[in-house]
Amino acid sequence: MIQPQTHLNVADNSGARELMCIRIIGASNRRYAHIGDVIVAVIKEAVPNMPLEKSEIVRAVIVRTCKELKRDSGMIIRYDDNAAVVIDQEGNPKGTRIFGAIPRELRQFNFTKIVSLAPEVL
């Protein structure tokens, strides 16, 4: 349940450390974003000497939420933090490595590259 003003960790090595959600892509008055949704975010904290800098506006896809993810099989998955992966307009990740566990749902949303880079897909 990510909404504007939510701070998210960055789960890749694109250069950003922390993002703040500004807007949720999808519908005009969409309230919350869940895993697999694309958001517009501003970089609040960045790693020095990287292509991405602080206060830059980027798009990101949410990969982990503290709010539970419910699967059709009845399984409920809850992560420990809110995290996103910085992507470009097409949906390809800007970084080359992904950190942490990624849920399988991202494959359905056509973020196959993120899933393939993930160290663990749960």
Binding site: R64, D72, S73, G74, R78, D80
Partner: protein, 246 residues
């Protein structure tokens, strides 16, 4: 050709919903055991309705990662996220069984997965309570050795071995049985007899050696010169002694 099935579980229902690839029957399978193994059902060209097939206790297999060969509409609906895991897991906190469709899975930031049977276990975990201190958890029960008597009895039962009653290459079954039923007195008597035999044999060879030696000595004295080389004499008794000792 065999039909393959997608098993989808509706949450909050105890019986899973079974959707067959070829026909639109919906069958409710009761959960009978902890792990229900399923085997592929024959093609419906056999003209058996799915209920009949299940009554005959055929079990169905869910092939998780294969694409379902069914009608096209079913194929497009295949979704890896919805295939069910048909195995009960254990709660990390209480040790209770978690049936499919129940429980909460918590993935920590270090990618360690915790399974909880219900929100009670989850809540206690997050409040950092120790399961070893709560009487109702499996960890506590194991630590305080509750209900172990039944387990140890079971283990003892398993330990008793039956005497191996099969013929081996070296000895046929009758020989083995005969040996087994032999009384110790009989065995001792047989052993003694064998020993006696060996002793007699040794004695016999020794006597023979002595006799031979005496003959040779006497012959040597008569001739004055020892025609037989000295090496022969010591060789003789040694050879005989070696055989007897064996």
């Amino acid at each position: 050709m065999q039909a393959k099935f997608l098993l989808r579980v509706r949450p909050y229902r105890k019986a899973p919903l079974l959707q067959l690839g070829h026909c639109d029957y919906r069958i409710y399978v009761m959960v009978l055991q902890d792990v229900f193994a399923l085997r592929t059902v024959q093609n419906s060209s056999e003209q058996q309705s799915p209920t009949e097939i299940l009554k005959g206790k055929t079990i169905l297999k869910v092939i998780e990662k294969n694409i379902i060969s069914g009608s096209r509409s079913q194929r497009t609906r295949y979704n890896p996220a919805t295939t069910m895991v048909l195995k009960t897991e254990l709660c990390r906190f209480s040790g209770a069984k978690i049936y499919p469709g129940k429980g909460i899975r918590f993935i920590r930031s270090d990618s360690q997965v915790f399974l909880f049977a219900n929100s009670k276990c989850k809540r206690y975990f997050h409040n950092r309570l120790r399961p070893a201190k709560l009487t109702w958890t499996a960890v506590y029960r194991k630590q305080h050795k509750k209900d172990i008597a039944a387990e140890t009895v079971k283990k003892r039962r398993r330990a008793t071995k039956k005497p191996y009653s099969r013929s081996i290459v070296g000895a046929t079954l009758e020989v083995i049985q005969k040996r087994r039923t032999e009384k110790p007195e009989v065995r001792d008597a047989a052993r003694e007899a064998a020993l006696r035999e060996i002793k007699e044999r040794i004695k016999k060879t020794k006597d023979e050696k002595k006799a031979k030696k005496a003959e040779v000595m006497s012959k040597a004295q008569k001739t004055g010169k020892s025609n037989v080389p000295k090496g022969a004499l010591p060789k003789g008794p040694k050879l005989g002694g070696g055989g007897g000792k064996r």
